[in-house]
């Protein structure tokens, strides 16, 4: 009844401005409101009702309702409720009040909608291009339905330079990325440095957009998309795969068979295991401690082998279809997986004990990259970053999916809010993941792993799904559509929100602490960059132009 209670609260407050509401289940709420009250509703929910901001979604709804659509998604974690506030924006004058003033975490999402769909947000605090490449012409919005998925705008200007802000007086700009030894993926930070102190930064990322969302709504079909979703990220792909499948299932009211849900849980936790071990290794590498880096990679390796044995791949398991999974765990694999888990636990325990006692690592990471509870709320920080600051959220418990409501586990929190706390949280979560897999293996009953879906999926339904990725909540929003494919599919990877907290973390810190602060959110830029075309810019000594590269790619294809 939680959803109805929240709806009544909103109705009491805003009355006729609430146009209609949809309560498909007790843990989902869709509220359609008048555009004029969007800022007030969001302020009320974010402030008075203490909701957690998740993401904003823009969609071109003109072929269906003649309007653009913007959705602001919120979560009520203790009440296990996900809410979507939907607004229709007139097509001839696509303008909407910005909520970035009352919900600072919406900064990027609104800029992205402005880039991709072309809805202007009035009163936005920093209305600057976020996603589209430097040379992309103004006024062309790739996620509109009248823009073809394979189109390149005619006036794309290779030579156009991105205008960065002027650094504050007395500061020097030190570029960090796109290519840097501790960045595994491209992103560009312009650090404003005074001596060795970082005073601020500007971020320019989204360099590896692959147009995944556009492809999904124009070329692929429902069961192609899980494979594409998996390729959003090289480390936590299975998360996106499951989140997408669950979003569609929740929209179409499909319930996968229990064994499939157990298998999803097992694979998600296997992914968490290898991802956390990988992160501990990389964090050690960043602080210049390669010995532990090598150790954690050695300990991690058997997990990769068992994943390959189960799914056929070390990564990119290709696990989910709508209504089930594609691979099963045989009794032999079950025994082997148990042995791997026992070995991993036995090897990881002494490492954690040693790390938690190590003075050098503590000295290096305590008080560094601090994000407290207020910062988590403000920037919408999630996952281990939030839990390290004492914010007790975990989608596995708060918005249970798969079989997380049928297994026992602890949500690990710490109260430092610094890099050290994030190390502690991740190191301990490994043991919880091992426990979850063991319980699943115990409880798993034989049965079908895939539902037989005979009917077409209903059209125009909305689906939300939050999955706890190793890095935090991965949120998927789906509007089902015609031609066996969704009308709109929006992915919010955890790094998308966590990255927005980085500028506050690194401010007034030593330059040397920049890398570990950034590393401590476990950034995954490819996750964040899903949307559109590739930005290739090689600066002064340009060897390949974008055009030449594109020609090369096309020649190879032909």
């Amino acid at each position: 009844m939680v959803a109805r209670d929240k709806l009544n609260l909103l109705k009491d407050k805003f009355g006729p401005a609430i146009l209609r509401a949809d309560l498909p289940a007790d843990d989902r709420l869709f509220v359609y409101i008048e555009p004029v009250v969007v800022r007030d509703v969001c302020r009320y929910m974010f402030g008075d009702m203490d909701a957690r901001y998740i993401i904003s979604i823009g969609a071109d709804d003109r072929p269906f309702s003649g309007k653009f659509m913007v959705a602001h998604n919120f979560a009520f974690d203790p009440e296990k409720l996900l809410v979507s506030v939907l607004v229709h924006v007139p097509a001839d004058n696509p303008k909407l009040d910005s909520i970035s003033g009352v919900v600072p975490a919406a900064n990027w999402a609104e800029r992205e909608i402005r880039d991709m769909v072309g809805v202007e947000f009035e009163g936005h605090c920093y209305p600057k291009r976020l996603v589209l490449p430097d040379g992309w012409p103004d006024g062309v919005h790739p996620l509109r339905k009248d823009f073809a998925w394979n189109e390149v705008p005619k006036d794309f200007d290779d030579e156009r330079e991105f205008k960065f802000d002027e650094p504050p007086a007395g500061c020097t700009v030190v570029p960090f990325g796109p290519f840097h030894p501790t960045l595994d993926e491209p992103a560009h930070f312009r650090l404003y440095v005074e001596g060795e102190m970082v005073r601020g930064c500007e971020y320019r990322g989204f360099m590896v957009h692959r147009g995944i969302e556009k492809l999904a709504e124009s070329v692929l079909t429902y069961n192609d998309i899980p494979m594409m979703a998996e390729r959003i990220c090289g480390i936590c792909g299975c998360v996106h795969n499951v989140a997408y499948a669950q979003a569609v299932e929740s929209a179409a009211a499909i319930k996968p068979p229990p064994r499939a849900e157990y298998l999803r849980t097992v694979m998600l936790e296997i992914e968490r295991l290898h991802s956390h071990l990988l992160w501990v290794g990389l964090a050690c590498h960043i602080v210049g401690f390669d010995t532990l880096f090598m150790q954690s990679f050695r300990i991690r390796e058997p997990i990769m082998w068992i994943a390959e044995k189960i799914s056929g791949n070390r990564k990119t398991y290709g696990l989910c279809l709508i209504g089930g999974v594609r691979c099963d765990i045989t009794p032999e694999m079950r025994t082997e997986l148990r042995a791997v888990l026992d070995k991993l636990e036995a090897e990881w325990r002494p490492v954690v004990a040693a790390v938690l006692k190590d003075k050098n690592i503590q000295k290096r990471t305590r008080g560094i990259g601090v994000a407290d509870k207020a910062a988590c709320k403000r920037s919408g920080l999630i996952g281990p970053v939030a839990r390290a600051a004492g914010v007790d959220i975990d989608c596995r418990r708060d918005h249970p999916y798969a079989v997380y409501d049928r297994v026992r586990f602890n949500v690990i929190t710490d109260d430092g809010g610094d890099v050290w706390s994030r190390v502690v949280v991740r190191a301990k979560e490994v043991f919880e993941a091992i426990e979850i897999i063991r319980q699943c293996l115990d409880k798993m009953e034989p049965g079908p792993i895939q539902l037989d879906i005979k009917d077409e999926l209903p059209i125009g339904r909305l689906g939300l799904s939050s999955v706890e990725a190793p890095r935090g909540e991965s949120h998927h929003f789906v509007i089902t559509g015609e031609n066996n494919r969704p009308r709109r599919w929006r992915v919010r990877a955890p790094t998308y929100q966590n990255l927005q907290g980085v500028p506050a973390m690194i401010k007034d810190q030593q330059l040397a602490d920049m890398t570990i602060s950034l590393g401590s959110i476990d950034p995954c830029f490819s996750c964040t960059d899903r949307l559109e075309t590739i930005d290739l810019k090689s600066g002064a000594t340009k060897v390949w132009t974008q055009e030449e590269l594109l020609k090369l790619v096309r020649a190879k294809k032909a």
Partner: protein, 329 residues
């Protein structure tokens, strides 16, 4: 062996260069092999038996790379820096006594000579960083200078302490004073200074810092500064910096052996010779490698704090203590 002086000098010069080159190449191999063992993996195994030809392969690769001088870099300083970082390491080895007779130039101010040339290393790295016209390189250069200023002081204080004990700056004489059983080594001369082992540890820490080795490798902290002062160097330019690092380790460990561990003296009073020198020196080199893979990198400011707030006061204390004890006896 009575060769005319010029031929003897030439032979020594060539010998030194070969010694430095072989050491630099095979210490890299030893480091990689050692790191592998510390981390429970095999290290290089592909090129030659146990990867023994790996340094050769690396050398060929580096030599075959194009040397790129970035536009806007200072062309002269940029090219001179690698030479300046390598040359002093070879020069200083000329006064190190490998055995009683095996010494390039047995000069009376040997110790001063070593430190005078050793300081050039810092200047060369700074030149390289400055000339690269790269922000990472310049930050690194600034770090190198402040780090080395900070660590030169405790190191020299320690050396002065030692000088008061030996009363000579001739390295050969210093070794000869330590003849006999190992308790005659300066390291164990507790009668003149009960803190002598501490003095040695300070010397060793400072040596790590001066040679920019982990955990003090602020200059090339790759997670922050890419490759620091060497970012813009390609091919053998980088290779020379890399070799110089190991050459400097050899020099530093040789000096520590001579000053504290009795140089070529046998620990049992009989059978002294070059073998003991090499044994002691490589034991120290191994410790240097060991330290690198055991400790995480420190932050730059805590590094400076360590020197100014801990090492310098302690070395002052040992200095004063030695003064008093020498006066009393």
């Amino acid at each position: 062996m009575d060769f005319p002086e010029p031929i003897r000098l030439l032979a020594f010069l060539l010998g030194m260069m070969a010694f430095v080159a072989v050491n630099a190449a095979y210490l890299v191999w030893a480091e990689r092999k050692g790191a592998g063992r510390f981390q429970r993996r095999p290290g290089p195994t592909e090129v030659g038996w146990a990867g023994l030809l790996q340094p050769v392969a690396d050398g060929i690769k580096l030599i075959s790379k194009q040397v790129i001088v970035p536009p806007g870099a200072d062309p002269i300083l940029f090219r001179v820096a690698p030479l300046l970082v390598m040359a002093p390491a070879m020069m200083t080895l000329a006064v190190i006594p490998f055995s009683e007779t095996l010494v390039g130039r047995d000069i009376n101010v040997g110790l001063v000579f070593v430190f005078a040339f050793g300081a050039i290393n810092v200047m060369a790295i700074m030149m390289g960083g400055w000339a690269s016209r790269n922000k990472y390189a310049i930050i690194s250069a600034a770090r190198v200078v402040s780090q080395d200023v900070a660590y030169e002081i405790p190191m020299l204080l320690v050396v002065i302490t030692l000088l008061m004990v030996t009363g000579t700056m001739n390295l050969n004489e210093i070794v000869q004073q330590q003849a006999g059983w190992f308790w005659h080594w300066n390291l164990f001369r507790l009668d003149v200074n009960p803190l002598m082992p501490v003095t040695f540890i300070i010397f060793f820490i400072c040596m790590l810092a001066e040679t920019n080795r982990a955990p003090f490798d602020m200059a090339e902290a790759e997670s922050e500064l890419v490759a620091g002062a060497f970012t813009e160097y390609a091919g053998m330019g980088f290779g020379v910096f890399f070799m110089a690092e190991y050459a400097n380790i050899v020099v530093g460990c040789s000096l520590a052996t001579v000053l504290f561990l009795g140089g070529w003296q046998s620990p049992f009073g009989v059978g002294s010779g070059v073998i003991w020198f090499l044994l002691k020196m490589y034991a120290l080199v191994f410790t240097v490698i060991w330290v690198r893979w055991t400790f995480p990198r420190t932050q730059f400011y805590s590094l400076l704090n360590l020197s100014w707030k801990i090492l310098i006061p302690i070395s002052m204390v040992t200095l004063v203590l030695t003064c008093i004890l020498l006066k009393l006896t």
